[in-house]
């Protein structure tokens, strides 16, 4: 079955640095991949969608890459701020049309 794996260990970085989160997938080749942000006690919020023919997508300080050969997406936050601290989830629609999620990576940005 299709699987998404994100680094379950929390990522701790210093304010101003670039945070890089990894999303790996197996047993499927999604045409689109989505990234969400989830704050404690809140629902996930959509951030970005990247298509398989787009190597890179940017939105303000966010950058997402999609490597269909490696079956991997990287999510970057440049000039990170404490307000960026949250859990970040990647997701894609599987063959059955269901949006499946990785377990998320918790990011903590220290001042």
């Amino acid at each position: 079955s299709q699987k998404i794996e994100q680094n379950s260990e929390a990522l701790n970085i210093q304010e101003g640095k670039t945070a890089t989160l990894t999303c790996n997938y197996t047993n499927y080749s999604p045409a689109y991949l989505q990234w969400y942000r989830q704050d404690p006690g809140r629902g996930p919020v959509f951030l970005l969608l990247i298509r398989e023919n787009e190597k890179e997508k940017r939105k303000e300080r966010l950058k997402v890459t999609f490597d269909t050969t490696l079956k991997q997406s990287l999510f970057h936050i440049t000039a990170s701020q404490p307000a960026d601290s949250a859990t970040y989830l990647c997701a894609f629609y599987n063959q059955g049309g269901k949006l499946i999620f990785g377990q998320g990576t918790e990011l903590s940005v220290k001042p």
């Binding site: 999604p30 629902g43 996930p44 959509f46 859990t87 629609y93 049309g97």
Partner: protein
């Protein structure tokens, strides 16, 4: 003007009880979902409705019964609650765009079964 609202936000109940969670969206979306997030933070889809029709029904115990009276509402009723049902349940909605639609989530309903 909350886009996807679900009630209640917190639910504490005893094993064996029956409970319901309600969800409403004012985004004009055609498709609504129920997801379960367990203690390990995995979000798993349970059900999906498109225009009141059930289109996704994951391997969920039949104690869970969704109901969609109209395309703006999707409720979840759970019978004979068990300890393992404790989780956060998220309602979500989207436009019906095959394999691209972003989901808009509610704030979640935390269910604790004692």
């Amino acid at each position: 003007d909350t886009a996807v609202s679900q009630t209640p936000k917190y639910l504490v109940t005893q094993m064996g009880n029956d409970k319901s969670i309600k969800c409403e969206q004012n985004l004009g979306h055609d498709t609504m979902y129920w997801y379960k997030q367990d203690s390990k933070k995995f979000l798993k889809i349970m059900f999906s409705y498109n225009n009141k029709e059930l289109i996704i029904n994951e391997t969920v115990p039949n104690r869970f019964s969704p109901k969609s009276p109209d395309k703006a509402h999707l409720n979840l009723h759970i019978n004979s609650l068990e300890l393992g049902d404790s989780a956060v349940y998220f309602c979500a909605s989207s436009h019906r765009q095959p394999n691209t639609g972003e989901l808009f989530f509610g704030e979640g309903s935390r269910l604790t079964v004692l």
